[in-house]
Subunit: 386 residues, 2 copies
């Protein structure tokens, strides 16, 4: 077997990814995945959109043909209008991970260093391996990615190709990057000649607090904004988008053309027929997730008072409670809880640096669990503490 | 702008790719692309498959969710049965180009040499740039890729990471690799430790002659067999597959998981609902293409007798006539023909080596042109010779 250095650099699943693939006992309640609630997936709207598409012979035929590498013009237009950018800066992708990997392969040199959230979405470290495994972990604090910390490291001579952060409803730590820090981060990128990769899959799912805006990203030629329809219309589409600085559009297109030519015309034709109801689909999802987050927070506070430091999420899919009692062994706890019929992602899987343990945290994904399941999950959790 | 070496190695479109993007005059007849006839695209079958999928709530919901990186088990099973391999060797891709690029990134080291057909499908050279631009051109002769030639080069010490060929209805030169040479090629790969990349998009579209089989590829752990539904069900799906040696399945999956997670669940759910009518769709297409190939060959022979060396295709989408008169300037001819209302791919675009000119050839793609259009194209061509 003769694998390329690139292929040899790709590690097998472990920790987070591995746990995502665990099939828990049939009656276990899974709080593992950042996936939309199945019952919110817009199957009725898709049925109507499908009938509309395939009843229209010309549109149907177009959907079965090649289409531009940048994406359907109408789809790009709609996205651009919502993002407040020129249409030529939007590239349709096969979902968020595809957008991340396109960005990484385009701008991160083999072996270069990339600053990443700490704690970090482990899927990004995984994607990053197509170019490098060298990271500079940057603490995520109450108002997001610690830009000051990064500035200090850069001032002392460290150099990075990119800085990766999840600006809205951070995965795993819930927090949102403040507007001021968004601007400070792109200013830093312009000064030190790196790219910001802003990974924003849950951005549409805000249900409390104040939107911090994306103008900072969209006004800088050093920011790549990554998004997807996976969390709203469903991950099965594999349709997302990038907002790129103009000078990166052609390099990204050259790469994506070679990787997979273009995003499925069938899917783009269907997704754009869901635009009419899109805001309603998103609003309904945000309403449901608001309720679920509240149920989970309330249950934890009432059934396990003082056990966790818990903060109400403002959107997205994750709760990131911290164990307040330092004498609790989180690994032993995880084993007890799984045995008791609940599965979640232990905080240690999200550590970007060995120095800064995230092991005192648990990541609960609440979006695809009903209020009853969430209450029952907390009851089982409470028994594991008893 | 700071691009990675990988991104910097990707050339802008030129020649073939560029010409594929030409928008000829509205009344020009295009013989450019290897694309299925629009009227053969199975829109009615897709309409029925769609209704079936979205009327089934559980199946519809599953289609909107994440699915395995390897592909839908039922889809892989069906493909495996037809290919005569174990299901675990089949990986569902986002079409043929995706399969090629996954193979290249997995097994071709940066800067390594890859033996390629000469003439060659230029899209492969384009894909190959994600790893290398070093090629060893191997002549394509009457019974395909010249395995003897490659053997001699290897015997004199040349080393390659892979050998790329289109075994069935070669693009552009129509020929089919003989069964004996398929075996000889994989024997060589085993002996000299390289991989065969067999790119087979038109394999299902045989309408004459004898199938040369794929057992040689499927019996060797040095052969990667690349296929797609693009030429039968339509390129808009972006669904294809790889048959891999077992030891390459996990490396390819690790890469594809990072590149785009998995092929759209929506598309896989729809494509597998087209299985019932699949053979009929393919048979009908092959019948139509047989007729079109014959019309084109007959028209060339009757209206331009002696001008071309023309051979009847046995399948696929291409005719590769050679100008018999060496005094004709093919570039000037191309200009005259385009001005006269026909566009095709000049042979020079398919040259893999500067030494071996393919400029005396023209590539005519006949599949998506009606018999009347083909006859009219030849009339216009004849006028350009007058």
């Amino acid at each position: 077997m003769t694998l390329s250095a690139l292929a040899r650099g790709l590690n097998p699943p472990k920790g987070f990814v591995d746990a995502s693939m665990v099939n828990p006992a049939p009656d276990a309640i899974s709080l593992l995945g950042g996936v939309p609630a199945t019952e919110l997936l817009p199957t009725d709207a898709v049925r109507r959109a499908s009938a509309q598409l395939w009843d229209d012979r010309d549109a149907g035929r177009a959907a079965l043909r090649y289409s531009p590498a940048h994406g359907f013009p109408t789809l790009r237009e709609w996205i651009a209008a919502r993002e407040g950018v020129e249409e030529n800066r939007v590239v349709v992708t096969n979902g968020g991970m595809h957008g991340l990997t396109l960005a990484v392969l385009t701008i991160v040199e083999r072996g270069a260093t990339v600053a990443v959230d700490d704690p970090v979405f482990p899927g990004f470290l995984w994607a990053l391996e197509v170019s490098t495994s060298q990271t500079l972990p940057v603490p995520v604090v109450d108002d997001g990615f610690d830009v000051e910390y990064l500035a200090e490291r850069l001032a002392t001579g460290e150099r990075i190709a990119a800085a990766y952060t999840v600006p809205d409803f951070h995965n795993p730590s819930q927090v949102t990057l403040s507007a001021a820090k968004r601007q400070a981060l792109v200013d830093l990128a312009e000064r030190y000649d790196f790219y910001v990769i802003a990974d924003d899959p849950n951005r549409a799912l805000r249900f409390a607090g104040q939107d911090q805006g994306v103008t900072a990203f969209h006004s800088s030629d050093r920011a790549i904004h990554v998004n997807t329809f996976s969390k709203t219309l469903g991950p099965g589409w594999r349709v997302g988008w990038l907002v790129l600085p103009e000078h990166l559009v052609e390099p990204v297109i050259r790469l994506r053309n070679r990787l997979d030519v273009h995003t499925s015309s069938v899917n783009q034709a269907l997704v754009e027929r869901l635009f009419t109801g899109y805001d309603e689909i998103v609003r309904r999802a945000a309403d449901v997730y608001r309720e679920r987050a509240a149920v989970l927070v309330d249950a934890l506070r009432s059934q396990l008072p003082g056990v966790f430091d818990v903060r109400e999420p403002e959107g997205g899919m994750f709760l990131w409670p911290r164990l307040t009692d330092d004498s609790i062994d989180p690994t032993a706890l995880f084993r007890r809880v799984v045995a008791g019929g609940v599965i979640y992602q232990p905080g240690e899987y999200f550590a970007a640096s060995p120095q800064r343990s995230t092991a005192r945290h648990l990541r609960f994904a609440y979006a695809d669990r009903t209020p009853d399941e969430l209450r029952e999950a907390v009851r089982r959790l409470a028994r594991a503490f008893a």
